[in-house]
């Protein structure tokens, strides 16, 4: 609704109008859902393989057929993750080509200042949290840590999946290096998501906008103050610009 309609509706005391902002596009919500699904399946089928020498893993991988099953499910989920990643990158490239890629998710100097101020706030050195834009630096850290992590997992995973093919083009020492990287990165990424991401979206506040695509006005005002002000002040300045 337009600003005019909004003001008119508010005139009636019985009507409470709450404005809702679009935070994520349908495509982004699907990407997140499929990313989440594939990562969970990959961790659940991958960790027992990483810890094959441990008794708990051997209870799960109780027969050679079970090992094969876990490997197969792991690879199916890996294909899904690769497709999500390719779609994500493809869309970004398409948007760059059409000069429509939003700069919101990219890290700027402001994020470092925000981080410093946020730490000062957490240490009771500041009274207020800094005002954030569309994505605060915590969310950018989540995005880029996952972006790089998924990249490492896919590349090292492909080396482990097709070692004989890969070593036709690349030095053999990439295989043990990929095995170590795949194993270590999986753990870092898994633990990082549990500590950082789960805390920020579930414990700090129930932030389900990645599923609904929407964010209410109050949350928008509180957590993304700068973005809120920008949209209110020039509501028509930017339409449809997607995020990577």
């Amino acid at each position: 609704m337009s600003e005019q309609e909004y003001q008119r509706a508010r005139l009636h005391p019985a009507i409470h109008v709450e404005r809702v902002f679009t935070r994520f596009t349908l495509s982004q919500r699907w990407e997140h859902a499929l990313l989440m699904l594939s990562v969970v399946v990959l961790l659940l089928t991958g960790l027992p393989q990483k810890y094959r020498a441990e008794p708990w893993s051997q209870q799960l991988l109780s027969t050679p057929e079970r090992v094969f099953l876990f490997q197969t499910v792991h690879r199916v989920a890996a294909v899904l993750l690769i497709l999500v990643a390719l779609y994500h990158l493809g869309k970004a490239i398409y948007q760059i080509a059409r000069r429509r890629l939003s700069a919101d998710i990219f890290i700027s100097w402001q994020d470092f200042r925000d981080a410093g101020q946020m730490v000062a706030y957490l240490l009771f050195l500041r009274k207020q949290k800094p005002a954030f834009g569309k994505y605060n630096f915590e969310q950018k850290v989540t995005y880029w840590f996952t972006f790089i992590g998924v990249g490492i997992m896919i590349l090292s995973g492909l080396v482990l999946w097709f070692p004989e093919l890969v070593t036709r083009f690349l030095p053999g020492r990439i295989v043990p290096a990929a095995k170590l990287a795949h194993s270590a990165e999986a753990l870092v990424l898994g633990i990082f998501i549990v500590i950082w991401h789960i805390y920020h979206v579930h414990l700090e506040r129930a932030n389900l906008s990645i599923f609904t695509g929407k964010i209410n006005e109050k949350d928008m005002q509180t957590y993304h103050t700068l973005e809120y002000q920008r949209l209110i002040e020039s509501p028509t300045s930017e339409q449809g610009g997607g995020q990577p």
Binding site: R52, A53, Q58, L61, S62, T63, P64, V119, Y121, L122, L123, F124, F145, P163, E164, T167, R168, L170, P171, G172, R173, I174, V175, P176, A177, K179, L180, A181, A184, E185, L187, V188, I191, F192, I195, W196, Y199, L203, E204
Partner: protein, 367 residues
């Protein structure tokens, strides 16, 4: 002529008869009590020291009956007082009971059971061996006397090379491989006491079939008996970590899982011998070694057919992660060793501070 016995000779004759009776009584009592009869050797040798003594068996084979008294005296049993009748229990007198064996082999296969009388534990162990299993169908399968000898039994490991040459009696081809291996050459050439002879890996009396799943999954431990011994390996400038590092490798972990979970299921993950060879193991620097750089690709290709020459670099060569031997692994490892704690501590502390600050804020608001 007076044909009567002279009465003066009677006491002497009586003495001879009494002695004879006493001797045979004691002698037969000893035999009945199943004691190794003593003092029979000289009596037996009175005939059997004749080099021409022999007989022909129904098979047409000639059975020499000659015993070399000098050789017998050097054997292990005779000087200990364990003489002929300890084994030849059914021969108590002359003329002997008739021999009923059709061939020399049949005779040996029946006679060796006498070894059990004294060496029962070893005999039972040997009954579990692959040789005993084969012996059910194959009369040539070795029995005690084939390795130890029958009359001229000596210590089987004096000198130590004797062990391998004993096995070589039947396992000629394998012995030829062993002879040129790093182990065999050291044994035969230098009389090295550290290198394994056949029995160190295959066992002595309870030799099992080395082609089984069980032997395969346990074989790396066999190598580790020496190759994980730091003191022993130090003598030859070899790493004693090879087994531990193998155990952490792709092949090694696979093997451990199969060994502990599915010991009866065949697996193809490489064990020591798949790469290094079995009897023909050579030192890595030997151009004929299957793991020498010139042959390594072909060795990998046994299990990984068609891999390119880059493939061999995927093998970290039983080395710990180090800048010198495995630089890529070293950097990846260093990266994660510093990144993981850094990221996780930072994330953890940041989230903890957030929890703290939020709790304080909430408490203040409710005041």
């Amino acid at each position: 002529m007076d044909k009567r016995l002279p009465t003066r000779a009677l006491p002497k004759m009586l003495l001879v008869v009494l002695l004879g009776v006493a001797f045979t009584t004691i002698y037969s009592w000893q035999v009945r009590a199943d004691q190794p009869p003593q003092e029979t050797e000289a009596y037996c040798l009175s005939c059997h020291s004749n080099p021409n003594l022999k007989m022909t068996l129904p098979s047409g084979e000639e059975l020499p009956l000659y015993i070399d008294p000098a050789e017998l005296a050097r054997s292990i049993h005779s000087p200990l007082g364990i003489e002929c009748e300890a084994c030849h229990t059914e021969i108590k007198t002359y003329p002997h009971t008739k021999i009923e064996y059709a061939s020399r082999r049949e005779l040996s296969r029946s006679y060796y059971i006498s070894c059990k009388k004294c060496h029962s534990a070893i005999y039972e162990k040997a009954q579990d061996s692959v040789h005993a299993q084969v012996a059910i169908e194959n009369p040539s399968a070795p029995i005690c006397t084939d390795c130890h000898g029958s009359h001229y039994v000596h210590k089987p490991d004096q000198p130590r090379t004797l062990i391998s040459t004993t096995c070589a009696t039947c396992h000629q081809q394998i012995y030829q491989q062993y002879e040129t291996s790093v182990h065999g050459a050291a044994l035969i050439g230098e009389g090295n006491p550290d290198v394994p002879v056949c029995t160190d890996c295959h066992g002595v009396h309870n030799i099992h079939d080395p082609r089984t799943v069980q032997f395969r999954v346990e074989s790396p431990e066999l190598c580790a008996k020496c190759h994980a011994d730091a003191e022993l390996m130090g003598k030859y400038g070899l790493s004693a970590d090879v087994y531990d590092i193998y155990s952490l490798s792709w092949h090694g972990v696979d093997l451990q899982v199969y060994k502990s979970r599915w010991p009866t299921i065949w697996h193809d993950s490489a064990v020591c011998t798949d790469c290094h060879g079995v009897h023909n193991i050579r030192t890595t620097s030997d151009p004929q070694s299957s793991v020498n750089p010139v042959n390594l690709l072909a060795t990998c290709q046994k299990c990984h057919p068609g891999v390119s020459s880059n493939w061999t670099d995927a093998w970290t060569g039983h080395y710990e992660i180090s800048l010198e031997h495995t630089p890529w692994l070293f950097y990846v490892n260093a990266f994660y060793n510093s990144l993981v704690p850094l990221v996780l501590w930072l994330a953890g502390i940041y989230v903890l501070l957030q929890i703290l600050r939020n709790t304080v804020d909430r408490a203040r608001r409710s005041l």
